[in-house]
Amino acid sequence: MGFEKFGVVSFTAQTRASDFIDYLEKGEIRGTKCNLCGRVFFPPRADCSWCMSKDVEWIEIKGQGTLISFTKVNYAPTGFEGDVPYILALVDFDGIKVFGRLSKDLPEDSVKVGMALKVTPLALPEDKLTYEFLPA
């Protein structure tokens, strides 16, 4: 339990990666790292399929990332109707890619592929949590 707190609408309550939520509550965005091969995972994985191992540790995603691509969404699936429009984005933090939304404060015409972004936690109504990208 615990993962149902993630995002505007959550579809999964149980995962062995739910510590992600505890770190998010503390203000940190964390991925995982395999303690055998050193591979870093974001989104965090509880398991390494290269090593057949469950021995992973949590590492923080911080610093400055680069915007790979984005789209401003004007039509949304059920449960997100009140949110539109919003901008979905894929951001590269030195080879670790993070998918999410840009801050609502950023107008679309100020957004450019290649721009520098940081990722930060965001509290949502009803005790839910997510993260968003802001200009770095």
Binding site: F3, F6, G7, V8, V9, S10, F11, T12, T15, F42, P43, I68, S69, F70, T71, K72, V73, N74, Y75, A76, P77, T78, G79, F80, D83, V84, Y86, L88, L90, K97, V98, F99, G100, R101, E108, V113, G114, T130
Partner: protein, 384 residues
Amino acid sequence: MPKDVAIIGVGQSYFVRGYQGSIRELAFDAYSEAMKDAGIGPEDVGASMICTAPEYDKQRSPSGLIAEYLGLNPQPTFAIETVCSASTSGLKVAYSMIKSGLHDIVVVLGFQKMSEITSADSQERMGRGADIMWESPFGTMMPAYYALHARAHFNTYGSSEKDLALIRVKAAKYGQLNERAVFRKGVEFDQVINADAIASPLKKFDCCANADGSSCMILASADKAKEICKKPVWVMGVGSASAPMTMTGRDSLAGLNAAKEAAKTAYEMAGVSPQDIDVAEVHDCFTIAELMAYENLGFAEPGKGNELIQNGETYLGGKIPVNVDGGLLSKGHPIGATGGSQVRTIVLQLRDEAGDIQVPGAEIGLVHNIGGVGIYGNVVILGR
């Protein structure tokens, strides 16, 4: 070229909004046409593959019901699901069953009655066609994912919304000739460019329409095909591949790796190269998908796909005619039926039965059918 397995019959329903019948009847529309085309009866069939995206079906386990309705008991039947590429996945399984000697004739039936569920239910399902843990909670849907690929393609290669609009204009031109297409109106360049954005940079006319429809392919062993079929169309190459479902797992968004991998396998198996293809059907669920297909299939170098459409090379009479049946953009996209409809178009081309859209003397054709946003890729090469 390999001549082990042939397509001996094809059929397709009209693709429509709101089919006025049940899924069993929708399936029968394509099946009866294909069976008559092949000149066989249910007793000749060894097995059936039922291809569908089951989240649209109210009927649980529809293969059982449909096999019964089509008169295909007691032969084995089962469902095949790779979302939008289900029916070419079915073709691959049927090919394998025949090549291995398990069966002589296999029916591959694809269908989708997208109107079976309400549009609210459909909207709800749309959000779950991605990683439901890490992407769906942000409010994702298919147009947004292809939009991310479009922006990445523009930025990597200098392509633009104008190139995408040219692709839609072509689709609309040929859609008007296809009486089984759901969208049969002409579309002007300015209309495409000025339409409302769905997920920027993709706008209304960059997206294909939902539709209800069915398709059917009948595959046979070489011996059977030669015995009963005047114009067998040979399955020369079948390639299929997968790619990460998540955007974070992909090396690049400027192409679809599953399509590239599938194409490589299919070309190798068929012993042909992209230059040998006379006519192609590619999975243009969105205009950007067709542009990426030009490059992923090797019709153009990476980043040069837009030159093909700018120069009219993918029109009839061009270097490589693509989607001259109107494509998904005009025909509509009844998920489980789409691949079979693409194969039917190529089979008719290779039999010289394509009418107004016939590519003169077409000998080798290609089908590119993609499941989800490039999660599954199937490429089929057919020859006469």
